[in-house]
């Protein structure tokens, strides 16, 4: 369960101070599917970074389960990201020089999993997204939808508690968008994970249990 209490995040821009999150207090229970919408520059990215232990708030606390993310060091935050949080990005962010299977394996590397187990679990994850026969392909040899499936396999292969998706369908056509969303929803239901999706697409947002709207750093229930 996420707990955000009075979270404020400010950045020092060239000539002024930018408040990306303004005194946000928010709870996200375990297993909930949440969609976050809002205008560009409204604070969606910053909120996702706080939830993903990628950044620390200027003030306030962010907790995931028993861990207060805002007070942990880099090494422990990296450990939490490795074990508990999965990421899916708009532009897939696959390593271009690694095959689909090897890209999935990168998520297990920090967990100290043996080579054979790593390959077996990664192969199974690829099969679960329908890409068992594409394991030796490089990202450039896959379509956008297939690349996003590989990214989802990479996010889920370590069986995280939380899956954070940043515009997961933003670079896909409508048909592929629906396939990816069905895939994500399927995993959410099957694995009971907490799914947070940042999206501009209302069709995607409507599939969520809960919709949040963020504007000028302030979060409201939609």
């Amino acid at each position: 369960m996420y707990e955000l209490v009075n979270v404020t995040k400010t950045y020092n821009a060239t000539k002024r101070k930018v408040t990306a999150l303004d005194n946000v207090t928010l709870s996200i229970p375990n297993g909930q599917m949440v969609a976050i919408q809002g205008p560009t520059g409204g604070g969606k990215s910053t909120l996702l970074q706080m939830l993903g232990a990628l950044d620390r708030p200027t003030s306030g606390d962010v907790s995931l389960g028993t861990s207060t993310l805002s007070k942990l060091g880099d090494h422990k935050l990296a450990g939490i990201r490795a074990k508990e949080i999965g990421f899916v990005f708009q532009s897939f962010n696959l390593i271009p020089t690694l095959t689909a299977l090897e890209n999935v394996e990168t998520a297990l590397a920090p967990l100290g999993v043996s080579g054979s187990e790593r390959r077996d679990r990664s192969q199974a994850a690829l099969a679960s997204v329908g890409l068992a026969d594409r394991s030796t392909h490089l990202p450039a040899e896959l379509s956008g939808g297939q690349q996003q499936r590989v990214a989802i396999a990479r996010a889920l292969v370590k069986a995280p508690d939380v899956l954070l998706a940043d515009e997961p369908t933003g670079a896909l056509d409508e048909g592929t968008r629906d396939e990816i969303m069905e895939l994500l929803e399927g995993f959410w239901r099957e694995q009971g994970l907490t799914l947070v999706i940042v999206t501009h697409d209302s069709a995607v947002a409507r599939r969520a249990e809960r919709r949040l709207h963020i504007k000028a750093g302030k979060v409201k229930e939609a």
Binding site: N93, E105, T106
Partner: protein, 525 residues
């Protein structure tokens, strides 16, 4: 994962890998080449020095020559005096010949008790003493007097010779005039003689020779009139093993001839005779001119040299490094070229290669910002990412190292095929400082008592101060340069490759570690 990721990066970013590897390869190849060339030049210098000082000689001890006292009789020079009965007259022509053995003018002899002192110094593995001498033979003919010459004719003559060199000059040859004057012919023949301990060939000049014919001197030759000749000198003087050679009027049996182990070079002396015999014949009993020392440890040579200077305050103590400085000629030029241009060129190219590797690595990290941000987002620690970047750089460096070894080996092979011949010469006196004076002093040197009608003859040449010159004898040697390929060269290449890779990897990794995942993932938001 580390190996897979590394392999994929190197293969898929092969242009960067190739550029870094070629840069490192060229630099390391040049370092190998300069290093090998330098070793070849050092070997050539050692070869030149060996021909003079012998194999294994770490230190030589000598005494600096002292200039002759101005106005002293003879100035310390050879002086040939012929009495009224010295010549053998036949058919009216008087034949004169006198031979003497004396120490070389550029060296000062010293008591052999210094050898005992040297052997007593800690760190001396072996030491032997030698006495460098020069045999000078003055011979000539004084023709009978012309018509009407008074009885008595030439009854005495005095000749003083002070030439320095290895071969004798000739004088005279003029035909006598009607009045009986002139018509004398004189020869001056000189060769170098080295008196040495016949049993001590492990260190000193005879350690750098190979037997050509006959045998070397042995302990049994002490006190005997046996000699070993340099084969080049023997050939030029038409002498051979089994024959004889006259030294200071004593007939020596030639028991063998020797060659220098160095290509195209002569040995340290023309003739080698037992030390005790040399001391007796040259009137230098118990005296030496040089001591050759082998140190117990090559790393302790400098300390030993310092200890020897303390033990023998008036002696000149030279190490191999000091002796190497006495090598001149194209060998010296090559040595200077390597130590100056070669070294600086290597440093510059190596620095450029390291810089290229560092810049490419930083550029690669910058280009892969999102990649590293993604990896951090999925839980990769900074250490893992730094290790990955450093690993890639080290492997690129190692590929460069292998390429450098190939380039270096090709260069070494080319040098060895061309095998340039370098000439070098080393002063046979460590100090080389001993000047000696030579001055023509007019025709009044000889005391001549001529009979009536006899022209008589007076020849004078003596050292009497004046302009001194330090023409120490030189042994010229031509050495074919051979650039060696050693395991040290490979270790240098691998070491530089790893150093370059680590340097680039450390800087690149440090840059990657500084990336904050949120900033690296610009795609988020």
């Amino acid at each position: 994962m580390f190996g897979t990721y590394l392999r994929r990066e190197l293969v898929n970013r092969r242009r960067q890998t190739i550029i870094i590897a070629i840069g490192m390869g060229l630099a390391i190849g040049l370092v190998i080449l300069v290093n090998s060339f330098s070793a070849g030049v050092q070997n050539a210098q050692a070869s030149v020095l060996q021909s003079v000082y012998g194999v294994g000689t770490d230190i030589t001890v000598s005494q600096a020559a002292t200039p002759p006292t101005a106005g002293a009789a003879g100035g310390g020079r050879q002086n040939f005096s012929f009495g009224s009965g010295s010549g053998a007259t036949s058919g009216g022509t008087t034949n004169l010949s006198q031979s003497r053995l004396s120490s070389t003018p550029t060296q000062t002899v010293f008591a052999d008790s210094e050898l005992t002192t040297v052997k007593g110094v800690s760190g001396v593995a072996a030491a032997t003493g030698t006495l460098a001498l020069e045999n000078t033979t003055f011979s000539g003919q004084i023709p009978g007097q012309g018509t009407g010459a008074a009885a008595g004719g030439t009854t005495g003559g005095g000749f003083g010779g002070g030439q320095q060199g290895t071969t004798g000059g000739a004088a005279g040859g003029a035909t006598g005039g009607a009045d009986g004057a002139g018509g004398s012919a004189f020869n001056l023949d000189r060769f170098s003689v080295l008196g040495l301990d016949p049993a001590g060939d492990s260190v000193g000049p005879l350690s750098a020779v190979s037997l050509a014919t006959g045998r070397l001197l042995t302990a049994a030759d002490a006190g005997t009139d046996n000699a070993v000749l340099d084969s080049s000198y023997a050939t030029s003087a038409s002498l051979a093993t089994g024959g004889t050679i006259s030294i200071a009027g004593t007939t020596f049996t030639i028991v063998g001839t020797v060659d220098s182990t160095s290509t195209d070079s002569a040995t340290a002396s023309n003739v080698y005779i037992p030390l005790d015999v040399a001391q007796t014949l040259s009137s230098n009993p118990g005296m030496l001119s040089n001591i050759y020392v082998t140190a117990s440890s090559s790393s302790g040579v400098d300390q030993l040299a310092a200890d020897l200077k303390t033990a023998l305050p008036t002696a000149t103590v030279d190490t191999q490094a000091d002796l190497a400085n006495t090598v001149s000629g194209s060998l010296s030029t090559a040595s200077s070229l390597v130590s100056n241009l070669g070294t600086w060129l290597s440093i510059l190219v190596l620095a450029a290669a390291f810089l290229i590797a560092i810049l490419f690595t930083i550029s690669g990290v910058t280009r892969r910002t999102r990649e590293f941000g993604t990896l951090k987002a999925i839980g990769w620690s900074n250490n893992r990412i730094v290790g990955q970047v450093a690993g890639e750089s080290v492997v690129q460096g190692l590929i460069g190292g292998i390429l450098g070894i190939v380039i270096g080996v090709i260069g070494i092979v080319v040098i060895n095929i061309i095998s340039p011949t370098l000439s070098g010469s080393a002063s046979t006196t460590g100090s080389g400082a001993g000047g000696f004076a030579q001055r023509a002093a007019g025709a009044a040197g000889g005391a001549v008592t001529g009979g009536e009608g006899g022209a008589g003859g007076g020849f004078g040449q003596r050292g009497a101060g004046g302009g001194g010159f330090g023409a120490a004898a030189q042994t010229a040697t031509n050495v074919a340069l051979h650039a060696p390929f050693t395991i040290e060269v490979v270790l240098i290449a691998v070491g530089l490759a790893i150093l370059g890779g680590l340097l680039a990897g450390a800087i690149g990794g440090w840059r990657a570690a500084r990336l904050r995942p949120a900033e690296a993932l610009r795609s988020v938001g």
